[in-house]
Amino acid sequence: MTQLALVIDLNTCVGCHACVTSCKEWNTSGQAGPMVDQNPYAADPTGTFFNRVQSFEVGTFPNTQTVHFPKSCLHCEDPPCVPVCPTGASYKRAEDGIVLVDYDKCIGCEYCSWACPYGAREIDEQQKVMKKCTLCVDRLYDESLPEAERKPVCVLSCPTSARIYGDIHDPESDASKAISDAGGYQLMPEWGTAPANHYLPRRKVSIAVHDEDLQRVDNPLRKEDRGPRKPTTRTTLDDSTSW
């Protein structure tokens, strides 16, 4: 069983919204029709997005950190939005685990959005159907694209590689390795939805610098008790230029 998913590294996400804009650009120009905006250039702009980046301040000043939190459909392994759909427009693909909406069957009753604890679904105000992240299903199997580009567009656009795409049921995939190596976790595990998308936690990034890293203990000059050359008082190239 394949379960395609995203693993989002909160440690490297810088909150640049590149995934948001590239997602909107790819999906609004796709065959499924536009993701419509209201007042895009006026006060209170709003519209349909599959992916949003939220920001949270953790801690109390001055000991705070900003956590940027990209939020999209998590493609749950037990999606609560699917069984409630009265028309069968919402479905989970057996072959790759992607949760999709058939826009031609959706009656826009919004019941699936009530059933999603994550608020991952949005009604398109113009087309009046429920929309959500498709994991760029129209890229993943498109053989006209180079193989390296058969990935969700948010993954390709992320400048810090904070988004990892892969099959989380394949223990050898990049996504599975990232989850097991960096302690990947699921959102709101208390509801038993088993989200396929995982998040990697904030980690302390530090390098331990030991004396032996700065001075080679096995330096042959030291063996001969000759020591490193003493600093000269002459101006070096580094001192005279300022690039």
Binding site: F56, V84, T87
Partner: protein, 324 residues
Amino acid sequence: MKPAISVIFLTTLIGAGQGLFLAFYSADWFVLLGILRAPLNDYSGHAAALSVLLLALGLAASFFHLGHPERAWRAAAMWRSSWLSREVIALPAAMLLILGYAVLKISAMDSIVLLLGESIPISISMVVGFGAVLAICTLFVCTAMIYACLKFLRQWHSPLTVLNFLLMGCASGFTLASALASYSQDGRFAYFVGMAIFLTLAALIFRFATLLRNKGLRSPSSLQSAIGVHHPTIRQIAQGAMGGSFNTRAFIHNYGASIVRLARRGFLLLGFVIPLLLLQISNESSILICSLAFVLQYLGLLAERWYFFIEAEHPQNLYYQMIS
């Protein structure tokens, strides 16, 4: 949750319609068994037609909830998994069966089909009516389970939701039946009023119990589990959209605490306490009092259903605490 107006009308109208039919059909049985006196002028068929009208109005209201009402027929497809789909089947089924009962009663095409215990004649309308009762019970359960099955809407996820929908629907239906009986000087009035008082009281008790239950509910979700950062102090500084989004429009209501409190007191008074007092002082000819009891109770139940939505806290709201 933000109250969905068309759903409020749907659930209250069909509740009253279902209760109304149950009132007259149950009275039919008591007449057959000789417990109630047969009315001089039996208008059960017309009452059932009114019940169909209420259900039809509710069905019409529900269409305003849909983005694509022309595709509504598709909603019957997923009855194996979706309570909404089951409701979509049960509602027209109940309407058809009640309509069948009404047509049989009004057109005098009714005839005896079997004898129960050698002495009680059962007519076709009673058989069709029995089917309608089954459909109505199914419909009550389906309608309520649409809300009760959503496990993370903790205020709804309770057997009390099903019981409340059943009791409130029946209470308003029997109150309406009392009003009809008072209008036509019907011997069944005492039965309708007695049941209306009993059901309204029971509905009040269980709705109040639900209020108490929901007051003490704590969601297992928090901002910590929502974003997976386990620090006691987290503050949202951006929600990813400046002009709001579907998530803020559909799930977050901006009614102040005073309006919500007013609605709670209002529905307890209008929906239960005042109708109880009015029904208590009514007699067989108090058309005005019984009609007023129904109108006030219906308005109260509209407020109750509005509050039912306000009461439910959706965990997705954790992600939308501050615009920027």
